[in-house]
Amino acid sequence: MANIEAAREPCAMANSLEFDLSKDSLRDLNLFLHRDAHRSGVTEVVVNHPDGAHSIACGMNSPTNIQIHGHVGYYVAGMNKHASVTVHGNAGPGAAENMMSGRVHIRGFASTAAGASAHGGLLVIDGDASLRCGISLKGGDIVVGGSVGSFSAFMAQAGRIVICGDAEDALGDSLYEAVIYVRGEVRSLGADARFEPMTDADRKVVAQLLALAGMSFDPAEFKRVASAKSLYHWHADADQEY
């Protein structure tokens, strides 16, 4: 840690600190974020040259603002609590997986399983998200500026997903209580997912989430997808071949 301290440059802002992952190790970065960032009064951490590293800023537990300049690998901001993490680039699989609170913003594209199992917080993806976006979602909100891949919102239990582009196959398969809003085409719905009429309350939710994400689409253009709840209980006549 000592040599890292020496190598790291304070940023122009007094309470901002920079890590350069071409020189500093991921371990030192995450250890600083977990143990010292909040205590030392640093409110912004800038990460340069992430070069696709995995698990950057995972396990955050303080309201630190983290700006990552470049592409990141798997699990950026995994299990995030309180922090605000922005990736000025693309993200690998599992971005913001199991997020509890805070905000994660991917300025580029996100790979598979973005926001998987997130319990809270807001995940914004400016570009497209790949397969299984919002899989197993448990209460978080996701706004995707582009399109999402197949099996997005698979078994999503709670929370909301706003998709400004299109959705590939099997959207919302085996959904529980999460709600999906899609602006574009849905190639196919998954088992037990169905279109439902948009209400004023839905349009309000979409407008709010778009505003939080900094996107300006017309909420009236969105369709609502939710669970038909026919798989909630076993009975012989339910189609078990889903």
């Binding site: 995995h54 698990s55 995972c58 995994g78 299990m79 609590k81 699989p93 319990h119 529980y176």
Partner: protein
């Protein structure tokens, strides 16, 4: 009148006919609890060769025989230290009541071992009562959260269970009460089926990265276990080692469950005996024995089973069903206010009888073990349960050390394959041990 000629079919016996008729009436497969009921080769099919002239025994009641067990020495800065190599397997809150969770924690803490959460998150009852608590990371991720990751002593990534390798969890609606529903973020009363694949990783190469993420989150302090249901164990153990596991848990086909399709319980996976040998072979092949610890589970009942598992190369065992039985599962009475009270009528009400019950899935456990019912759960008093379980674990430990001493070992971890022979050809082949009285190991 001549005596009727009654001949039961071997293929279509009464049980099979009953199965077909039930399927025809309901249109649904049977779901039940506990483990496989069929007989498969198991630890009963092995015997110890104790000391005699060629080996020197320890004084059974005087000389020390260590049972200390350390798990997670590979990468974690805080490995798990246990007083005995017998641990409590992961059983979900939801399947078990919070009172049972508390009883498990209290007993485990008193004997110096660990307990494990399950598919449904960590309860305060189990965290508060368990000195050492392993926190499961399951495909469903129900209730999984970073605060509990930080409160845990180790993390166990569950790939599968012996009772249902390749299958997800199940909790029928009658057990999804308000607290269970809240912890799992599910609607109350829903027949819950959990995922069988993790949401954020797919193959073994991804698992390498997932494990690293959990290490980063826990600042490399906590051991990471990987649990697999016993199928292609040799390959799975190698892949888990490659993925960076500190500890590998292998759960054989006899392993218990709270609710799974019978067809799964009886027809998928391989016996614990065969699985254990494959797992040890894989670790030896990689020269990883002692570096990566092996926990075996599935049908462990007695101190003899534990001793045999250790002799074959396990570092520890995990117990599920044995724990339930210890708490009173399948007993005709439950203990309330210090008195034994009959539960026989309650068994009958759910179509069971003491000794035959496997109805954990119904949530109407007559002895208050696998239930969320506010009345039935009172039948298990945490202090009583903890005392019984502590006695059971102590007994297993005493039996195990009795055998270890007779084999001349000052440490139960010194038991070795050379101390064992097999009683049947099947067991000899699966465990790759010589048939008793011969030097013949089938296949070698």
């Amino acid at each position: 009148m001549s005596t009727p000629h009654l001949e039961e079919s071997a293929g279509f016996d009464r049980q099979t006919i009953d199965y077909i008729q039930r399927a025809s009436a309901s249109g649904l497969y049977e779901i039940r609890g506990l483990g496989a009921k069929r007989r498969v080769p198991n630890f009963d099919d092995l015997l110890f060769l104790a000391a005699s002239l060629s080996r020197y025994p320890l004084e059974g009641y005087r000389e020390r025989c260590s049972t200390k067990t350390v798990l997670g020495t590979r990468f974690a800065s805080r490995p798990i230290e246990l007083a005995i190599p017998i641990t409590i397997a992961g059983m979900s809150f939801g399947a078990l009541s919070a009172r049972v969770k508390e009883a498990l924690g209290r007993a485990a803490t008193e004997v110096g071992t660990s307990t494990t959460t399950g598919d449904g998150g960590m309860t305060s009852e189990e965290r508060d009562s368990s000195k050492t608590l392993v926190y499961q990371c399951l495909p469903s991720r129900y209730g999984f959260n970073p605060d509990d990751v930080r409160r845990a002593d180790a993390i166990e990534i569950v790939i599968g269970q012996g009772a249902k390798p390749g299958g997800g969890g199940m909790l029928l609606g009658q057990k999804v009460n308000p607290r269970v529903a809240r912890m799992r973020t599910l609607p109350e009363g829903v027949d819950q089926r959990s995922a069988s694949r993790h949401p954020d990783w797919t193959g073994p190469d991804d698992l390498v990265i997932k494990i690293k993420e959990l290490r980063e989150i826990t600042d490399w302090e906590k051991p990471i276990y990987v649990k697999v249901g016993a199928t292609r164990v040799f390959n799975d153990v190698k892949l888990a080692v490659h993925a960076g596991a500190d500890v590998i848990v292998v759960d054989g086909m006899q392993g218990g469950t709270a609710a799974t399709q019978t067809v799964f319980i009886e027809h998928v996976g391989i016996p614990t005996l065969a699985a254990l040998r494959q797992a040890v072979d894989a670790l030896e092949d990689l020269n990883m024995r002692g570096t990566v610890q092996l926990v075996i589970s599935g049908g462990i009942r007695s101190g003899a089973d534990v001793a045999k598992a250790l002799a074959m190369g396990a570092d520890a065992v995990a117990i599920g069903q044995g724990v339930l039985f210890s708490l009173g599962c399948n007993s005709d009475t439950y203990i309330s206010g210090g008195e034994h009270r009959s539960a026989v009528e309650d068994y009958a009400r759910i179509g069971a009888a003491p000794g035959f019950c496997h109805h954990c899935h119904t949530g109407k456990c007559p002895v208050g073990v696998t239930t969320q019912d506010p009345v039935l759960e009172l039948r298990l008093e945490p202090a009583v349960g903890a005392k019984r379980l502590k006695n059971y674990l102590k007994t297993l430990n005493m039996e195990m050390t009795t055998i270890a001493r007779a084999c001349g070992k000052q440490d139960v971890h010194h038991l070795e394959r050379e101390d064992l022979v097999a009683l049947t050809v099947e067991a000899a082949a699966m465990a790759r041990l010589p048939l008793a009285g011969t030097s013949w190991i089938p296949g070698s």
